[in-house]
């Protein structure tokens, strides 16, 4: 049922997704949970994987498995070509001119730790400020807190309004003085808010600060182009975008990455090593010590191929429509309160509370009905403190979710109300 909020103009003329064909690509969607068909609505935590990605992993292990950058034998050359080929795919996917600007990490958390420990350690000192927001995931807070405890710089936060949007009225005050870095999320993993990246980035740059964007919830779900956004660093993870776990990336402008010191030492990150010292390798390997997650990188490359084939604009549009539909239907459930802004300001997820029912109980009842949602603070405890709630329940969507699944979610939530009402 169309609503006013569903007519967005952000995406170009994207053709609607063929949900049935897409679903057929995801073997796990055939499984049953507690005897019922799986309804997977925990995509903000981790996405499912299409056959194409699973096949890429199998193919690599069955045909080309070897270490990269080392051997001159056939397998090592194949592995290296596929591994570096995946880097090029990911670079192009986010609009980077060159693959060497993509630094592989285990996940986005590691990407942000890399940024803090390498760039932060070299550039931050007492009297400096790092500006974050109140809606950050712990992985964009704790690495800075660890470093601030050691180096003595200040951490300030852009606050969040009741409706889940950032309060930008006093941004110039927050940026005044020695603010060296503004690090914030493209899209909140709790309230779903899509932040005004360009506006924040312009303001940060005017104030002489660099910008790091946590794009974990954006890169999998919408077209993201770093040149257009004009940010300086960006982190994202592979497993949230149809790829395997164990692979993520930090993108950075190459002049910034070149100036940064290595952060982990070991194999592959060096040009030469002597008893008296070492010279680091060049980008991107300077930051990639040890045998990397080769299969996972190749799998992520396959995931990017899949997403590009479906089309990011189409995925974004489909998720917006599904989210608008969910936000229209969920309030039918007695006592349900949605956190965050209206559908036109958010991406494909809805977090909510439900009367006195604890989110863990909500999620457990739903699980028994085959529905997977997330319950807890979603690694964003400060934001939950902001709303004075210990936890919330969250349904998050992806390209394979349907309106029928939203209907079943609503039906199941009525059952929760029945069970937990006093």
């Amino acid at each position: 049922m169309p609503t006013a909020t569903m007519t967005q103009s952000t995406s170009s003329q994207s053709t609607p997704l063929d949900a049935e064909a897409i679903r057929a690509d995801f073997p796990i969607l055939e499984r049953r949970v507690h005897g019922l068909p799986l309804i997977y609505l925990d995509n903000a935590a981790s996405s499912q994987k299409p056959r194409q990605v699973i096949d890429a992993l199998t193919r690599y292990y069955e045909h080309s498995n070897a270490n990269v950058h080392r051997g001159v034998h056939t397998l090592s050359e194949e592995a290296t070509a596929q591994y570096e080929g995946a880097r090029a795919k990911v670079a192009s996917f986010v609009g980077s001119c060159c693959p060497k600007e993509i630094i592989w990490t285990r996940n986005a958390s590691e990407a942000m730790n890399l940024l803090a420990q390498s760039w932060g350690r070299a550039n931050l000192k007492r009297g400096d400020r790092v500006l974050l927001t109140e809606m950050e995931h712990h992985s964009n807070i704790v690495p800075w807190q660890i470093l601030a405890a050691e180096l003595g710089f200040e951490i300030a936060y852009v606050r969040v309004a009741d409706d889940g949007t950032l309060i930008l009225d006093d941004l110039s005050k927050l940026l005044a003085g020695r603010t060296k870095l503004v690090s914030f999320t493209y899209m909140s993993n709790v309230v779903g808010t899509i932040n005004p990246v360009k506006e924040l980035t312009r303001a940060a740059h005017r104030a002489g600060a660099l910008v790091h964007l946590d794009a974990c919830q954006a890169v999998p779900h919408m077209p993201v182009n770093i040149e257009e956004l004009d940010v300086d660093f960006m982190s994202f993870s592979g497993h949230k975008m149809l790829g395997p776990t164990g692979i993520g990336a930090l993108w950075g402008r190459r002049e910034l990455l070149n100036a940064m010191p290595p952060w982990m030492g070991g194999g592959d990150m060096i040009r030469e090593v002597h008893l008296t010292g070492f010279k680091p390798s060049e980008l991107p390997w300077k930051f990639e010590a040890g045998t990397p997650a080769i299969a996972q990188a190749i799998g992520l490359g396959a995931a990017v191929d899949y997403l590009e084939q479906v089309g990011m604009a189409a995925i974004h549009q489909a998720e917006r429509e599904l989210t608008a539909y969910a936000m229209q239907r969920l309030p039918e459930v007695e006592g349900l309160r949605i956190l965050g802004p209206a559908a036109d300001k958010r991406g494909g997820l809805v977090a909510f509370t439900l009367g006195d029912a604890h989110p863990h109980d909500i999620a457990a009842v739903l699980d028994n009905l085959g529905i997977a949602i997330r319950a807890g603070h979603h690694c964003a405890q400060p934001l939950h403190e902001r709303y004075c709630i210990p936890a919330s329940a969250r349904a998050s969507f992806y390209l394979y979710n349907t309106k029928e699944e939203v209907d079943l979610l609503v039906k199941a939530l009525h059952k929760v109300v029945e069970m937990f009402t006093f």
């Binding site: 604890h358 863990h360 009842v365 807890g376 936890a391 069970m419 937990f420």
Partner: protein, 124 residues
């Protein structure tokens, strides 16, 4: 569903010993920050035994039912005996299968009880 057996829901909706004691001998507060469950356990001790108990806090049905059932069960028992209580003592009371994720919810009241009877972290 098994996790939410009738008895569990009954203790959740009508928790026994919920509230405060006038003059508790031992008070212990504990929380499970991951899910936001919180409990404050108050014990009235006489002759080395639990004479009365009360708890407050908020949490999921499992943690609240566990606190309610545990409170009923510990009155009259000696501190020595309670020091010997373990995970099984609570799971037996609950009478349900609790998976690896929810076990923390089920055991939060026991954690508070053990800390209280071992004299750890007394508030006053």
């Amino acid at each position: 569903m098994d996790l939410y057996a009738e008895e569990i829901l009954d203790h959740y909706k009508h928790p026994r010993h919920f509230g405060h004691l006038d003059d508790p001998t031992l008070t212990y507060h504990d929380r499970n920050p991951l899910c936001g469950d919180e409990i404050t356990l108050e014990l009235q001790i006489a002759d080395g035994k639990v004479a009365d108990v009360a708890f407050t806090g908020h949490g999921c049905a499992i943690s609240r039912a566990a606190a309610s059932m545990m409170s009923e069960e510990i009155i009259g028992r000696s501190l020595d005996e309670l020091r010997g209580w373990n995970k099984e003592s609570i799971l037996d009371l609950l009478g349900i299968e609790v998976g690896p994720v929810r076990i923390k919810c089920a055991l939060l009241p026991l954690k508070a009880l053990k800390a209280a009877v071992w004299g750890l972290g007394e508030d006053e």
